[in-house]
């Protein structure tokens, strides 16, 4: 089956006690993309998600997958076509890791042997060594359990993945790893994913599209992360996105137009006169590179360019791949106040001062606004 599109049409969910968890939700989750539901606690994210695989039924409206009402299919059969990952992983404690992952293929009638074989592949895919397959869930760390949860949801290769705060029960370092690997995986598999989180950073990092919910189950804004950060629909969204909204936007601005300067890039054979000239021009530091043009470190223009005395380059940026946020970070971490640009192989292309980067920020913001106005 091909990746599918999920459509909410006027969906309202009222619980028996009268709580309106979702109100008149209209939303399209496009094929092959990650749609993130984000919003404060109790705003109806989980309720919305659980209506997709019919763990809950809408009170009004309907949900379509590829144009077909989900209620037309038997609930259990429908669910086997949708990977489901939850915060506490929910692994079966009485089954080995391998058999946990083999669960859905076996429900679909695949032989045990075949299901286990593909389960072993899934484990590898989520970065777990095959030996872990023999363990029981209680013998895994929280991060490993989450990976198994993801592997289990992927095992039957469903076109749709529903994920409810899958990474929020692990520590920030593990969460970062899981997020990076998840994005890499999605590049390969291109599933239609609905991802619930209450963490704005996670939403911005993972989402192709972000749906912001407000308490009472109202959808306030649906947009790409860039546009959400650039133009929040109202004060609620702006508040929810938090104070670093401007800085976060830098993540979406390319650094390939930053003006680079090569004059302060020197190697050990540099003539003393050149260093002096740099010093006279107000440059206290020069960037020393090796024969392969890899950065060695910053050296003062007042002394001899010795590798032993060099201050390390803590962070570089690649204009072809990195955002202006990385470029700015690189400049802020450097004793010279200059960012170091490198190519894909790590060879130094040149350096750029804070001011050069901020000029690029201004240009990029203006450019993205022009693009926006034109569209």
């Amino acid at each position: 089956m091909w990746p599918a599109m999920i459509t909410f049409e006027h969906v309202t969910k009222r619980y028996p006690d009268g709580t309106v968890a979702v109100e008149d939700l209209d939303l399209v989750c496009p094929t092959g993309q990650i749609t993130v539901f984000v919003g404060p606690s109790g705003c109806g994210k989980t309720t919305s998600l659980r209506m997709i695989n019919r763990l809950l039924e809408p009170t009004e409206g309907r949900i379509l997958v590829d144009g077909n009402d989900v209620r037309e299919r038997d609930a259990s059969v429908l669910r086997r076509d949708m990977g489901y990952v939850i915060q506490q992983a929910g692994l079966f404690p009485h089954r080995t890791v391998l058999d946990n992952v083999a669960t859905v293929p076996m429900l679909l009638g695949v032989s045990r042997k075949e299901a286990r074989r593909s389960a072993a592949e899934q484990l590898e895919r989520v970065g777990l060594v095959p030996e872990l397959g023999k363990r029981y869930p209680y013998q895994l760390s929280g991060g490993q359990q989450q990976r198994v949860g993801v592997a289990r949801a992927l095992a039957a290769d469903p076109p749709i993945m529903l994920m409810d705060e899958p990474f929020s029960a692990v520590d920030p370092v593990v969460r970062g790893d899981l997020q990076r690997e998840f994005l890499r995986l999605q590049d390969d598999i291109g599933k239609t994913i609905v991802f619930v989180t209450h963490d704005v950073d996670e939403a911005v990092k993972l989402g192709d599209q972000i749906a912001v919910f407000a308490t009472g189950g109202h959808l306030v804004q649906v947009d790409t992360p860039e546009r959400l950060l650039a133009a929040p629909a109202n004060e609620f969204v702006a508040d929810f996105l938090g104070g670093d909204r401007g800085i976060r936007r830098l993540t979406f601005l390319a650094s390939d137009r930053v003006g680079l300067d090569e004059s302060d890039v020197v190697d050990s054979t540099v003539a003393p006169g050149l260093l002096e000239a740099l010093g006279d021009a107000g440059r206290d530091w020069a960037l020393l590179v090796g024969a392969d043009r890899h950065a060695v470190g910053w050296v003062p223009t007042s002394g001899v360019p010795a590798a032993a005395a060099a201050r390390p380059v803590e962070r570089t940026f690649n204009p072809a791949a990195d955002s202006l946020r990385v470029a700015l970070d690189s400049a802020l971490l450097s004793p010279a106040g200059r960012a170091v640009a490198v190519d894909d192989d790590g060879r130094v292309l040149g350096t750029a001062a804070h001011a050069d980067i901020l000029r690029a920020v201004t240009d990029e913001v203006a450019r993205s606004q022009r693009v926006e106005a034109a569209s």
Partner: protein, 215 residues
């Protein structure tokens, strides 16, 4: 201690021991057969649990002698008369443990099972019951061991396994101490053996349970 009597009566002692095992295990098997469906229904429909629990507790409180006498009129002088009360007594602990076992299934596990496409029956058989095993086995253990000591009372009807050593061969033979001692020692040994076997079975059934947590 009259060892000659013991060695001379080994076939009799063996037969009584066999009867004792039968009379303590059969009621537990019957009790499980009743408690499993009853407990499962009670965990699905919590409103039923209160009344069911009350009923099993009341049954448990009925004095065994009274029950024997009552059943004598119905089933006559037969092992059934001993088995039925013992089976009824196990319900009080077994139903409770089946329900506790079903409740020990974490919500997240149940949610994941439903979300992956398990129907109700498959979920019960493949997910909930296996996870309930440790608590069901704990109940089985208590029921079996307490039955082993209770079987003796059946000796009053002539079906008491090792209990006969206290009555027919003990008290009625002028408090013949050797028979009584043999009965006590074998009953205790049987209880210990049964307990060990059940724990062993549980370990075999639940290789997935963390060890050393008092299970």
């Amino acid at each position: 201690m009259n060892w000659e009597w013991v060695t001379g009566h080994l076939p009799l002692i063996g037969q009584l021991l066999g009867e004792h095992v039968f009379l303590s295990v059969l009621p537990v098997v019957i009790g499980l057969a009743v408690s499993l469906p009853l407990g499962i229904v009670c965990s699905r429909y919590p409103a039923l649990y209160g009344p069911v629990l009350l009923l099993t507790s009341v049954l448990y409180a009925v004095p065994s002698l009274a029950l024997f006498v009552f059943l004598l009129g119905v089933t006559g002088l037969h092992t059934t008369t001993v088995v039925i009360p013992l089976a009824l007594y196990t319900l009080s602990v077994l139903v409770r443990n089946v329900v506790d076992g079903m409740r020990s299934v974490p919500d997240a596990v149940r949610d994941a099972a439903v979300g992956m496409g398990f129907g109700p029956l498959r979920r019960l058989v493949q997910v909930e019951l296996p996870i309930a095993v440790p608590l069901i086995m704990a109940g089985t253990r208590v029921a079996t061991v307490s039955n082993i000591s209770m079987v003796s009372i059946g000796a009053l009807l002539g079906f008491g396994g090792l209990g006969q050593l206290f009555t027919t061969y003990g008290i009625q033979l002028n408090f013949f101490l050797t028979a009584i001692l043999t009965g006590v020692v074998l009953t205790v040994a049987l209880a210990v053996a049964a307990d060990t076997i059940i724990v062993g079975i549980q370990r075999l059934l639940t290789p997935w349970a963390p060890r050393g947590a008092g299970r």
